[in-house]
C-alpha cells in the first residue's frame, strides 16, 4: 500500500507535485507583479504607477509558495540530514531509524498545521488585515493551511512507506535531496 508505484503512492505523489507546481506558478505570478510594479515606479513621470501593496503581495505569495513546497521536499527526502555516523550502522538499523525520524517529521508537520490552524482562527477573529490592501490575514493563513495539511498527509504516507520498508527489509532508493 505504502509504495511509490501503488495507487496510494501515485496519488500522494500527484498531490504533492501538483501543489509544488502550483506554488511555482504563484512564484512566477509574484515575479511578474514585482516586475510590473518596478516598471510602474520607474515611469511615474509618464503616468504609470507602482502596484499598490506590492511588498505585501510578494510576502503573501512567497509565504504560500513555501508552504506548497514543504510536502514535496519531504516526499523527495530533500531535508538536510547528517549521515556521517549512521552510515556505519547496518541497513536494518537505518531502516528503523528512518521510521523514528519520519514519525518525528509527522509530529512536526502536525504541530505546524495545528498551530497554524489556531493562528488562522485568531486572524479571522481579530479581523487582522495587511497594511495597504487590507486583505484579511485569515485568508492568507487559510491558503498556507492547505500546504500544511498536505504536508501532514505526505508525512503520514512517508512514515507508512518507511515502516513497510523496515518490516519487509526493503531499502528506500537513494534520492538526490536538496542542497544549496
Amino acid at each position: 500500500m505504502f509504495q511509490d508505484n501503488s495507487p496510494l503512492g501515485r496519488s500522494v505523489y500527484g498531490l504533492a507535485k501538483g501543489l509544488a507546481l502550483l506554488g511555482g506558478v504563484v512564484m512566477v505570478a509574484v515575479i511578474i507583479m514585482i516586475t510590473l510594479s518596478i516598471i510602474g515606479r520607474t515611469f511615474i513621470w509618464a503616468g504609470l504607477r507602482p502596484i499598490l501593496g506590492d511588498y505585501e503581495l510578494s510576502s503573501m505569495g512567497i509565504a504560500f509558495t513555501v508552504f506548497t513546497f514543504l510536502p514535496w521536499a519531504h516526499l523527495e527526502r530533500g531535508h538536510a540530514i547528517v549521515t556521517l555516523i549512521t552510515d556505519r550502522f547496518g541497513p536494518r538499523f537505518n531502516a528503523w531509524l528512518l521510521v523514528i525520524t519520519d514519525a518525528m517529521m509527522l509530529a512536526t508537520a502536525a504541530f505546524i498545521a495545528w498551530r497554524l490552524y489556531d493562528g488562522m482562527l485568531d486572524k479571522f477573529a481579530f479581523r487582522e488585515t495587511t497594511l495597504l490592501l487590507r486583505v484579511p490575514l485569515g485568508w492568507a493563513y487559510a491558503a498556507a493551511f492547505v500546504g500544511a495539511s498536505v504536508f501532514v498527509i505526505v508525512a503520514i504516507y512517508v512514515l507508512g512507506r518507511s515502516v513497510t520498508n523496515a518490516v519487509t527489509g526493503r531499502t528506500e532508493p537513494d534520492r538526490a535531496g536538496a542542497e544549496i
Partner: protein, 440 residues
Amino acid sequence: MSNVLLGLLSFPVMLGLIFLRVPIGIAMLATGVFGSFLITGSFNPMLAQFKSLTYSTFSSYSLSVVPLFLLMGAFATLSGMSGKLFDAAASWLGHRKGGVAMAAIGASAGFGAICGSSLATAATMGKVALPELKKYGYSGALSTGTVAAGGTLGILIPPSVILVIFAVQTEQNIARLFMAAFLPGILAAIGYIIVIAIYVRMAPGSGGQRERVPYGQRFSQLVGIWPVIAVFIAVIGGIYTGIFTPTEAAAIGAAGTGIIALATRSLSRRGLSEVFLSTASATAMIFFIVLGAAALNSFLALSQLPQVAAAWVGDQGLNPWLVLTVVLLLYLVLGCVMDSLSMILLTVPIVYPMMLALDFGLAPDDFAVWFGIIVLIVVEVGLITPPVGMNLFIINSMAKKVRLSETYRGVLPFVASDIIRTIILVAFPPITLALVWLFY
C-alpha cells in the same frame, strides 16, 4: 538548573539528534520547543508562538529573496548557459598548461554570478566540464577536485543565498554583504587557477591543453555570453545602486534567466516542471531549517546564554584574533560533517554576539560584514572538505570512473588555497571592506 546552563546543554543534545539522522530543522525546532518548556515551565508560550511563527517566518520580505534566487539559478541551469560560459572561458585559457581546468574555474565564477547556490553551480559545471576535462587527459583527481572547488564560487560570488540568511540573522544590509563578497570571490577564482597551474607542473601528465584559439573567435564567444552579463549587471548592479531591493532584484534575475531559458528553447513543459520542483526542494529545505532556528533562537534568548557568553568573552580580556582563530577552526571542523546553512543558523546566534563583544578595531557594521564574509568562506570550505562535502559527493557521482578517494586527494590543494585566502582576508580586513567603504 540555571537557564544559561540549559542553553549550553542544548547544543550537545541537538548535535546528538543531528548525528542520529534527525532532520536538522526538526532537531532545532524540538530543542527550541522543549528548552523553552524547561525554562518557562509550560508549553503554552511556544504553542502560542507557533500560531504565527511559521507564517511570519515564511512571509518575511527579506527572506523571500531566497526562493527567488533559487529559481533564478534553476532557470540558469536549465538554459545551457553553462556550456557557453565554459566555451568562452576555454577559448581564453584552454591553450595554457592546465588550461581546460582553469576554464572550468572561470566558467564556474561566471555561473556563480547568476546562481546563488554552490551545489547547483558544481552540478551544472560538472555536466559541461567533466567530459571536456576527460577528453584532454585530465586525471580524475584534478578534474573532480577542480569542479567541486569551482562550485563553491556559486556561493562566494554574489548573489549568494547563504549571505542572505546571514544578513537576515544579523540584521545587516544584504547589499553591503554582496558588495563585500565580490573581491574575495574573485580572489578565490584566481587562487584556484594558481592551484591548477602549480598542480599540473608538479604532477606532469595530470592534464593537457587545447589548441590556441584566434582572438576574433575569443571575442565572439565573449559576446555570446552577454545574457549572463546582462542579468548579473541587472541583479547585482540593481542591488548595489539601490534601484531594486534585493527581493526585487532577485525577481528581475529570475525573470531574466527565465527569458534566457525561453530564448534558448530549453524551457519545455517538462523543463519548467523540473525547475519548479528543484526550487521547491531547496526552498523547503532552507525554510524548514530557518523555522527550526527561529524556535531555537527564541529559546536561546530566553536562556540568556548569548548575552552571558558575550559578556563573559568580553570580560576575559582574551586576544580577539586568538578567539577568531579558534572560532574559524571550529567552523572548519564542523564543516567536515555538516552543511553550511545549518552551521550558520546554528552558531551565529551565540558566536556573533560573542565576536561583537571583542575589539577588532572595526566599526560594528564593518565588523559584521567582514566576519560574515570570512565565516561564509570557512563554511564553504566545508563543502569540499573530506569526509562529508556535498560538492565532492555530487561531482564524484557524476564522474563514474573516479574513486571518492581520488576526489578527496584532488580537492586538497584547493582547500589549501581556501585556507591561505582566509588567512589573508583575516589579516587584511580592508580587502573585504574596500568596496563597501567606496560605495557607502
